[in-house]
């Protein structure tokens, strides 16, 4: 066996569970990987989330934190308190206690966020990009990204907006930037796919909503970035923690499992909400405690109109991605 082999242990595939691999990741980290295939499958995330909730609730002495993502969970622990094999055994027990994914019910809040399409701030980000970074950027040809996103997906700008507003977006795990979540469309008929900026932007305003690949991101603070922009939503993060929504931490999203849904608003309404979040601190966020019943979701995915709609859209997308300029 190679000395570079890092798989410390495995849990065999069983029922709808794929094989689980426990990978060495240093002297304080173990990566729990679900399956061998690089796939983008929300059901993997549901399982990871169900296990993650139990890992957190188990009060494992020596566990520092977990970092779930779409098909992995990174476990951070103190090896002077608990050995890697001990922590793996605990996770295996937890995994064995989880019934099939069909029977899972996952806590998942629904957060409704107003969005203004093509608002002046995200327009400014695109303008700056053309001026400072890439004047001939094909994704900014008409001064914004929506036309390019439509081209890539073989549809119209109205279709793009409609897809953003129609589906719920599921957070497989926060990361990369403080408070930022990685959101995926739950309705496969709305699974837009776009390339990322090349090279990336230097500036993106707080609240910008963008998409790269099939993954949506709401920019929590002003920063660089590479996702194609739709417009601007309200604050999803507050460093100062002044607003009551942020009294326990600067984050709006939980580490994973939240769903967001967008409603269209005017830029004036959005700016007014910024004022009521950051200055007057009296904006009331629309957040509902809710659950994903996986069985119901699987039934939704199996409906003929969903299956057919997704196939039709994938075909449009295939043609669009061939004709749209590469970045």
């Amino acid at each position: 066996m190679s000395k570079y082999e890092v798989i410390l242990d495995t849990l065999p595939a069983e029922g709808d569970r794929v094989e689980i691999l426990f990978r060495k990741a240093g002297d304080g980290f173990i990566q729990v990987e679900y399956g061998h295939e690089q796939r983008v499958e929300l059901l993997d995330s549901f399982r990871i989330l169900a296990a993650d909730a139990k890992i957190k609730a188990a009060n494992i002495n020596g566990l520092i934190e977990t970092l779930p993502s779409l098909r992995c969970n990174m476990i951070h622990f103190d090896p002077s308190v608990i050995s890697p094999m001990q922590i793996i055994d605990k996770i295996k027990d937890i995994e064995e206690s989880i019934a099939g994914v069909d029977d899972m019910v996952i806590d998942s809040r629904i957060i409704t966020l107003p969005i203004a399409f093509e608002d002046s701030q995200t327009k400014k980000a695109v303008e700056l990009y053309l001026k400072q970074v890439r004047p001939d950027a094909p994704n900014c040809e008409d001064g914004y990204n929506l036309d390019y996103m439509a081209q890539c997906n073989g549809c119209t700008v109205d279709d793009i907006k409609k897809m953003l507003l129609t589906t719920d977006w599921y957070n497989s795990g926060c990361g990369f930037w403080p408070g930022g979540g990685f959101f995926w469309p739950m309705d496969p008929r709305c699974k837009m796919i776009v390339p990322k900026y090349n090279p990336p932007r230097i500036w993106t305003p707080e609240g910008a909503v963008g998409i790269g690949g099939a993954c949506l991101f709401t920019y929590t603070t002003a920063t660089g970035g590479g996702y194609q922009l739709f417009g601007r939503t309200i604050p999803t993060f507050q460093f100062s923690m002044k607003h009551p929504q942020f009294k326990d931490g600067p984050f709006l999203y939980r580490p994973s499992g939240d769903r967001i849904r967008f409603v269209e608003a005017s830029e004036k309404e959005i700016l007014d909400i910024y004022d009521h979040v950051h200055d007057k601190t009296d904006y009331v966020y629309d957040i509902k405690e809710s659950q994903i019943v996986v069985k119901d979701y699987l039934n939704f995915l199996a409906q003929p109109e969903v299956v057919n709609g997704a196939t039709e859209f994938a075909e449009k997308q295939r043609i669009g991605s061939q004709t749209a300029p590469k970045l």
Partner: protein, 327 residues
Amino acid sequence: MIKVVNGGIEILVEDWPGRLGYMGLGMAAAGAMDNLALQLGNKIVGNELTDAGLEIAGGYCEFEFVEDGVIALTGADMSPTLNDEPMPMWEAVAVKVGDHLKLSHFGEKGFRSYLIPAGGVDVEKYLGSRSTCIFGNYGGFEGRKLAKDDIVKVFKKDITGIAGKKLNPKYMPDYENDWELRTIPGPNSAPDYVTEEGMNYLFSHSFKISHNANRAAYRLEEVDGSMFWAREDGGKGGSHPSNIVDHGYNIRGGLNITGNTPSVLVADGPTLGGFCCVAQVINADLWKIGQGIPARDKMHFKFTTLEEATEARKEREQMFEAADLIV
């Protein structure tokens, strides 16, 4: 209180172990790049190991003491002077109101010095730590590096009998120009991600540190991708073999490869992303990374087992407890 007369390149308030527990919300731990120098400094002046000090990268700075106290200067030797007289390092030195401490710049070995006042630097904790995350502009002193005329507060402490205490020379860390980092392979290692030949190369070559090395990532010279990667592409993760479906990163210390460029992800690095992490620098050697001089020093990775890494952690803890550490 310490007044900044000249802020030099980058002076930051940092502590150790930094801001743990927020990786799943996108916040890296931040913390001192050279935790060993910071913590030995804390020991010299009789502080707690978790107290905060000033991390001075590169040098070219000057301070004026606004009140009497005791300080220690550790880390890289930047030819420090106190009132224009050479000042000893790794030793508790009494300072009086009006004294001036000057640091020249990094020299033969090491890139970061630490100024540790007896009592520790007094800034408010943000999410459990006084460390600055300079990439996100939060924590530490107003979320930023120190500038001319800033006044840094110091916690009150009885300083009787501290001046003159020194680090026992037998515990003095070794500074190098080709830093040896004990490293554990994984999670993305041979045979499934990287070739055996690629891993052999990784564990035998000395990598030059890029000029683009900072508190988020220490970038290194490129590897030869045609020999290094064991796969053609990243599947759903992307077209390059370094791509992977986004996963949590094993930071601090993760050896991440973007395209064919390896980077050691450190204090302020991303917590999650779409590139392979082929190895991790062990916890006991993290301190060396930030002492590497950008565009000049090299680093090489020494193959290490989990057992050796755990042993090294224990040795470090025992050293801090040793009766003859400070003389």
